[in-house]
Amino acid sequence: MNLPATGPNYSYLFDTGSMSAWGLLRLREQLENGLPLTPRPYQTLAERTGLSEQQVMNAVSQWQQQGLIKRLGLVVKHRTLGYRANAMVVWNVPDDRVSTLGEAMAAAACVTLCYQRPRRLPDWPYNLFCMIHGVSRERVLNQLASLIEQHELNDVDHAILFSNKAYLQRGGRYVSNC
C-alpha cells in the first residue's frame, strides 16, 4: 500500500487491529471538522470513511485513552460570548525559574493557557507565555496585577499583547490538506 509520507506520529493509526489505515486517516480528517449533528453522528462518520459505526466509536475511544484526542466536547468561541479582552502576557524569566513559574501560573484561575517557548534574540526576549481570556481590559489588567503580586514578578520583564481582532479561528488541520 502506498502510504503518504509519515512521521513517527502516525504509528497510532496502525494500533487499532484490523481497521483500515486509510479509513482511520479519513476518520481523523472528518473529525477535524467536528462531529456531525445527526442523530447517529458516529454512523454518519462511518458512512463517510468506509468504517463501521462500532469501529468509529472504538477508534474515538482509543484515541481519547491514548491522548491523541485530549478533549471531546463543545468547542467554544469565547469572543462571541463576550470574552473580548484576550491578552497574551509574555515574560522574560531566568531559565532556571521558567518551569516552576510556568507550573505556578498555570494554576491561577485566570490563566487559560501557559507554556514555554524559545527566545529569539534580539527581537524577542520572552520565554514564558500565558493567556488570559478576559471580559474587559480593565479586568484583565487587575488579574495580571494580582498574578504579579502573588508570584513576586515585579522585577520580571514582561509585555501584554491584547488581541484586537481574530482573523481566523478553527481547529487544527493536521491531516486535512487545507
Partner: protein, 154 residues
C-alpha cells in the same frame, strides 16, 4: 451574546466528556431534560451564531502532528492584506491581530515537522516580512475548556 439557560447548561455540561455511543445527543438530552431533536437544533444554532466553532474532538497537537506559533510585523496599513495571505497559507488555524510590533500572530499545523518548515519558508518568502517562529518547549496548561463565567459576561 446572551444565551438562554438551556444553552448555557449545554455548554457548562459538555465542553468535555461528550458521550461516545450510538445516540450521543439523546444521552445528552436525557441528562439535560431536553429532547434529542432540541439538543441537535441548539447545537446547530450555536454553531451558526459562531458561539461554537464545532462539536468534537480537540487533538493533542504534539501527538497529532506538527504545529507552531509564529508572528510577523506587518506595516499597520497592510494588516488586513497580510492577514488574508496568512489565512490562505496551508495549515493555518488561528490568526490574531495583537498590539505589538509583531502584530499578527498565527498558528500553523502540518502532518510533520518538515512539511511545517516548508510551509513557513514559503509563507515567509511570499510575505517578505521577518517571521518569529516559536515552537512550544513545554506546556504547563493547555486547555481552553474552562468554565464560562456567565455572570461576568456583558
Amino acid at each position: 451574546m446572551r444565551l438562554d439557560a438551556a444553552d448555557r447548561q449545554l455548554i457548562d455540561s459538555y465542553q468535555r466528556n461528550l458521550p461516545v455511543c450510538e445516540r450521543p445527543y439523546e444521552e445528552m438530552a436525557r441528562t439535560l431534560g431536553l429532547t434529542e431533536e432540541e439538543v441537535i437544533q441548539r447545537l446547530s444554532a450555536l454553531q451558526e451564531q459562531q458561539v461554537l466553532s464545532r462539536v468534537g474532538p480537540v487533538f493533542e497537537h504534539s501527538q497529532a502532528g506538527a504545529s507552531l506559533l509564529a508572528a510577523v510585523a506587518a506595516p499597520e496599513e497592510q494588516m488586513d492584506l497580510v492577514a488574508a495571505r496568512i489565512n490562505r497559507a496551508p495549515g493555518v488555524n488561528h490568526n490574531y491581530a495583537r498590539e505589538h510590533t509583531y502584530n499578527l500572530w498565527f498558528v500553523m499545523t502540518a502532518p510533520d515537522e518538515d512539511t511545517l518548515e516548508e510551509r513557513l519558508d514559503e509563507l515567509e518568502h511570499q510575505l517578505k516580512l521577518p517571521m518569529l517562529r516559536l515552537p512550544m518547549v513545554e506546556g504547563y496548561h493547555i486547555d481552553l475548556g474552562f468554565d464560562i463565567d456567565w455572570e461576568a459576561l456583558p
